[in-house]
């Protein structure tokens, strides 16, 4: 099927969103709360576009054949700037927001600054619950008192220290600390596993490993706690036996 972006015919796939189609076809739509591995939630409201003359969010609009989409109308840019202004008032010191402001011509922020660090897009909670499967984070409170953290902002028994939340955070506000044998995130410190052969520190915790084990039937528990070098050494040994026997045969 085809959609029309800024007057040009663009190929689109049934069931995908306007944002997905546009990004794939090389168009730029600012977006902060969208992650391709998650179902869109439409929280940040930055991915505004005009669909058939009506301003709406690209990430929550499913394509239809012949859909007419405008990315940069006066109307879209005006609202996009206001949303951006709201976000900048919330989180004044964020490089990505600076970059977007420059791109869309947002001048001085007229709103009182809240001096927070999180834009409340909710990606961390969703990644943790829906992808990692740890479900250690929650959206707490409501309205302007909305916070994303482990329940009651206490170290969560469910956190596995995988740092995926910090990785997906669009404003990089989730901080963690790694030492050779510990990882600390959301106030919880966990041991990093060590390679059972060479003792090298692995970038994984025992808690995380438990989750990973549940994902497949084809995972070899005896190999899980080895570093890649030691795993390859095992592989090499196996191959050597094969090679030896073949060389003797010939």
């Amino acid at each position: 099927m085809n959609i029309i972006i800024n007057g040009k015919d663009v190929a689109a796939r049934k069931g995908e969103t306007v944002l997905e189609a546009a990004l794939r076809e090389g168009y730029d739509i600012p977006h902060l709360c969208y992650h391709p591995a998650l179902k869109p939630e439409g929280n940040c409201r930055l991915c505004l576009v005009e669909v058939g003359g009506k301003v709406t969010t690209a990430c929550t609009t499913t394509v239809r054949d012949g859909m007419v989409i405008e990315l940069d109308t006066e109307e879209v840019n005006k609202h996009r700037r206001t949303v951006l202004e709201m976000l900048k008032a919330l989180v004044p010191k964020s490089p990505i927001l600076e970059e977007l402001s420059a791109k869309f011509g947002l001048g001085k922020v007229r709103l009182a600054s809240s001096d927070e660090v999180c834009i409340k897009c909710g990606l961390c909670v969703r990644v943790c619950a829906e992808l990692v499967g740890a479900d250690a984070l929650a959206q707490e409170g409501r309205g302007t008192e909305t916070f994303f953290n482990p329940p009651f902002n206490e170290p969560s028994p469910d956190c596995v220290g995988c740092t995926a939340c910090a990785f997906v955070c669009p404003v990089q506000c989730i901080k963690y600390e790694k030492t050779d044998d510990k990882i600390t995130i959301w106030g919880k410190t966990m041991d990093r596993l060590r390679c059972t052969k060479c003792g090298a520190s692995l970038d994984l915790t025992a808690e995380h490993m438990e989750l990973i084990k549940k994902r497949g039937t084809n995972l070899h528990p005896e190999n899980l706690n080895l570093c890649d070098t030691c795993s390859r050494a095992e592989t090499l040994r196996t191959m050597k036996t094969v090679v030896e026997s073949q060389l003797t045969l010939s």
Binding site: V127, I212, G216
Partner: protein, 136 residues
């Protein structure tokens, strides 16, 4: 699925490690050579020779099972399991899962890396001086 298969002929390998070099240069990080996805090991006597270890692109791959985001997907044209970095959440589960040690973590970026068969024209194969690697 791809009809092409990656062959290793260990009897022809001399352990010269040209494959590692070509791999590192074709997977650069900021213009610098990246980590090689293939390793050629020199074995000790009495079997004094080289053995290349590289991703087997397993049919039922542990890395694919372990990945929570379906970021690891098989490229049907080349047969390679590739990392789709826009889906990847950098959890390193694939790294833990691979029983052969063929999912790596790149030092500078801290991102996972694995053999992608160079999108169908593996450099290791082209550069192997002895014909120990083949992709056909």
């Amino acid at each position: 699925m791809s009809s092409r298969i990656y062959y290793i002929y260990p009897e022809k390998c001399t352990g010269c490690r040209t494959c590692e070099l070509s791999c590192a240069y074709s997977h650069t990080i900021n213009g610098q050579p990246g980590v090689p996805r293939i390793h050629a090991y020199n074995t000790k006597p009495p079997l004094e020779k080289g053995i290349p270890v590289v991703c087997l692109q397993c049919d039922k791959a542990a890395c694919v099972e372990a990945c929570p985001t379906h970021a690891l997907q098989r490229n049907m044209e080349t047969g390679a399991i590739e990392v789709n970095y826009s889906l990847c959440i950098n959890c390193h589960a694939c790294f833990a899962a691979c029983p052969f040690g063929n999912v790596l973590v790149e030092p500078i970026t801290n991102r996972v890396a694995k053999c992608d068969l160079c999108k169908g024209s593996p450099k290791c194969v082209s550069f192997c001086p002895t014909g120990a690697l083949l992709y056909k």
